[in-house]
Amino acid sequence: MWGEVLSNLISLQSVIAMMVGVIGGLVIGALPGLNATMAVSLLIPITYAIKPSAGFIMLMSIYTVAFYGGSISAILIHTPGTPASAATALDGYALTKQGRGLEAIGMTTVASMIGGAVSGFALLTISPLLAKVSLMFSSAEYFLVAIFGLTVIGGISGGNAVKGFLMGLFGLFLGTIGMDQITGQLRFSFGIDAIASGIPLIPALIGMFSISQVMVQAENYLEIIKNKKLEGTDVELSGKFLPTKKELIKLIPNFIRSSVIGVIVGILPGAGGDIGAWLSYSEAKKASKNPEEFGKGSLEAICASETANNAVTGGSVIPLITLGIPGSAVASVLLGGFLVHGMVPGNQMFTKNASITYSIIIGFIIANIVMGIVGMLIARHVVKVANIPIAILSPIIIVLSSIGAYAINGSIIDLYIMLVFGLIGYFMRKFNLPTAPTILGLLLEPTAESGFLNAIIQAKGQPMLAYYFSRPICVILIIMIALTIISPLIKYIRKK
């Protein structure tokens, strides 16, 4: 198996895929207005024509490098390219104003590289163990895990928990549309052939994330047509770049703590890079000998937030490939990608598909290191990318989205689905309804429903509550679900 892994990794496809992922991720991350979720969903169709190991190495490279690219914009022009870089923007931009912008970028480069690589190792070591746990899973457990994923992502994403849960339910409902798996009965299709076999996942994803994003950007029309150049992008950087050995050694506890925080936050379904970054930031501040510097240009702060947000990437893939529960919004999109390639999360990933899975994980670790190296070479120039006018970006994104959505099945109907979901996605954002739970619901509906129905069969006539409580893993899951639903409730009552 390791021979296969090695040959996968050194194949031309994988190397090109990794370079595309790293450079693409840098550019997309640096561009304010584009984010990793969108990039990954756009590029899933491309993975069809190449080996799955190469394809997913590319997607995961984009995932981790996009956070790094976003931080570069955050530091230099005070505009985080991705929400996860917002914590870095604070101290990073302060350092830029002090003329130490390059130092900040150097710190980011090292920190992102370390955070990402550590999470890759966590992925490598923890996943096989967790996958064995999944062997103990039966229908009831899968049902509860699906519900757990939805409650967490509904409760944490975008503030209002009620809206989050509503959107999760909406996603589940969308998943029921089409032919029922067991009886073949058509549900909610209203005679429309296009959705008779269910809503095609990738076009819906692309529509909801990419097309809606282009529409959101159009809201700033009046600003855009002024064709302003973003301030700060012409600044010539000079001075110290990489942190010295002494500084690095002093920061080791920070690196370790932040990586661990990042990986754990990543594992928690629903919590993404931004939460990891802020949590790590506040922990670093508490542990720091110079807390007053935080917010005014502290390299420690950048180290903390950057290590954590990249550590989230690997962490979020852990529950994804072992239990099928994505640890973040991007991971949800990756889940869609895996399913479409016929790779089912769970123990299978480490037995039948082991060589592909390990190729992807090790490729991910390598990509993080490559990111660090590439960053050291070209980071200071990357920010110029932010000046690319939306006038050019918008049509290109639309073209890419459309062709990507089409290429999957060669079906024009998928494009109309993409448009419909683009519209739905746009209005959801207008009304502050989070989109991630909907996609997750759509993805997890088969798991949830079959788990639910099969559990009834397996209970063999026992009352369902008794059945669920008789299984230890189920009890743990039920407690966790209850906690996730109750904690927003407590917050709400506390506010009153």
Partner: protein
Amino acid sequence: MKKINFKTDTYLGIVLLLIGTFFLKQSFQLRESTSLFPKIILSLFILLSIILIVTSLLSEVKDSDFKVSEIKYPMVIFILCICYVVGLQMIGFIITTLIFIPAVMLFYRNNKKILYIGCTLGTILFMYTLFNIVLKLQLP
């Protein structure tokens, strides 16, 4: 008695409630085994939309108002997208994209003519090579 104001979220909740009820009614037309899961989901959906209505009625925080003027430009983009898809269906990739990219750039009042030609040709060439030659996937 606290002041009750109707806010965006309130209207949203009402809309969601109506949608949920509509589909719940639909689900009663299904056979029993297939309708179980949807019925549960939709019932929870209706419950939560009522909670949304109630909490937003009681909340004192001002919601962001939904202005119709805000969606004008995004709608234009959306209509352009529809035209693009229809074009792809009827005319095919190369010609439709040839028209589409400059159209959007025009919409955003980009003035550099070179960019128009460069980007359009560049994108078409890039997509063509990528999809047809490298990846061997179909183009419309």
